[in-house]
């Protein structure tokens, strides 16, 4: 039977082992979602541009990324970056690049759906008002696409937060690694894994609860 002993969990332990990992996990989530959203939007615009090479290129990028397991993508970047640039950049930076590139593919599909969800009349009206195609995209289409997709974007960000734990494959020090390390040092691995599960659950569950509320609020406005 499992005798749980949580007395080793002190403020000092949290500060020493967990906080650093937590900050990295959050930073990775924020950078990957913002960077992924930016590049993903560009990919989506390329995909919908009607220019043959752009359509093919962005489709190829998105489909390739989406057919490879994230762990393999993490390993690929960790292998290729030093090979191509000539010097190692460390596991943390490697993780930033990987997640931005990987999430861009998923955000691109979300933004593609978002842009398609804006009725073509909006674009026609913008053009009829004398806006250039770029202006109509920037000021009319994208804001609405972004707004329509906001709940999906946040849901993807929650998935992304959970996926950051996979940096385990290259040994980056994230929230999970913080718990694993603390568990090893204090000889309490089972408690550490359970605590990690509880923390991830609480954060993800609270975040998805907030997304559900946001979804209802947006639905009422419309």
């Amino acid at each position: 039977m499992l005798d749980l002993d949580l007395s080793f969990v002190t403020l000092e332990l949290l500060r020493k082992f967990i906080l650093q990992g937590f900050i990295f996990s959050v930073q990775l989530t924020v950078i990957a979602s913002l960077g992924g959203l930016l590049i993903g939007t560009l990919l989506a615009i390329g995909r919908l541009s009607g220019i043959k090479t752009l359509v093919a290129l962005s489709a190829f990028y998105v489909n390739t990324m989406r057919s490879i397991p994230l762990v393999m993508v993490i390993l690929w970047f960790y292998l290729l970056i030093p090979l191509l640039t000539g010097h190692s950049i460390g596991v943390e930076f490697s993780a930033y690049f990987t997640f931005v590139a990987f999430e861009a593919a998923y955000f691109s599909e979300i933004m593609r759906a978002g842009i398609s969800s804006v009725s073509p009349g909006q674009k026609n009206a913008a053009l009829a008002l004398g806006l250039t195609p770029t202006q109509s995209l920037q000021q009319v289409i994208l804001p609405q696409a972004f707004r329509n997709m906001l709940p999906v974007i946040f849901t993807q960000t929650i998935v992304l937060f959970q996926d950051t734990s996979l940096v385990y494959a290259i040994g980056a020090y994230d929230l999970l690694k913080g718990f694993v390390t603390a568990g090893k040092i204090y000889g309490r691995p089972e408690e550490a894994y359970l605590l990690a599960a509880v923390i991830y659950f609480a954060l993800s569950w609270a975040a998805s609860f907030m997304v559900k509320r946001l979804e209802r609020r947006i639905a009422i406005v419309r």
Binding site: S67, I68, L70, V71, M72, L83, Q162, A169, A197, S204
Partner: protein
Amino acid sequence: MHWDWQIFLSDDGGGRTYLEWMLQAWGWTLGVALAAWCVAVSVGALVGVMRTLRASPWINRLALAWVELFRNIPLLVQVFLWYFVLPKLWPAMQQFPSFWLVALALGLFTSARIAEQFRAGIESIKTGQTQAALALGMTRTQMYRYVLMPVALRVILPPLTSESMNLLKNSSIAFAVSVPELTMFAMQAQEETSRGVEIYLAVTLLYAVSAFAVNRAFAFVERRLRLPSSGTDAGVSAAKVAPLGLGH
């Protein structure tokens, strides 16, 4: 840089070539994925049905708790719980090979997602179908067995296809508990041979081929299961049949 594909024909030090090792690893990947898929679909269907039982709030809440629990903990943490924590809780589990622990972890993780697909599929069926089934004197079990599930299964085939492909990709998580599958092979062979690019390319290709095969298999099933009456999908036929059935 230059290629060195010969690496796959060289000995790994254990009497087999890297190619043989990789193919064995592929077998492990497919095995984990298949076992997990069976768990995911059977548990997912059950929990999904429980989510639609509006008359039994406690069953419904239990199913919702199941979905929230397995959806909000990262897969890697769940694998660690199955591998390190549960065997301490229940010593008989220490005999379980890690293959089955990973298959269970991955299967139950995915079951939460598939349950939501089944729930949405069942709820997409017009209430007229339910009422017609009950009016014909069917029991609730018969209604699910003969009316709701056959339609719901057809409705959810497209999302079930992509979730099954996700499951296959997620099986790479098994490296964390040393199941000798493709990702584990990639990491070890890369370290031993320093021919990482060739190794990773081959492994990536095998993942892509497997995912594509899953996709084609589902497309085949979807074609075979298509109802003769329907145009393109079963959801449309459900919507068409319902008003005729009860005339509401």
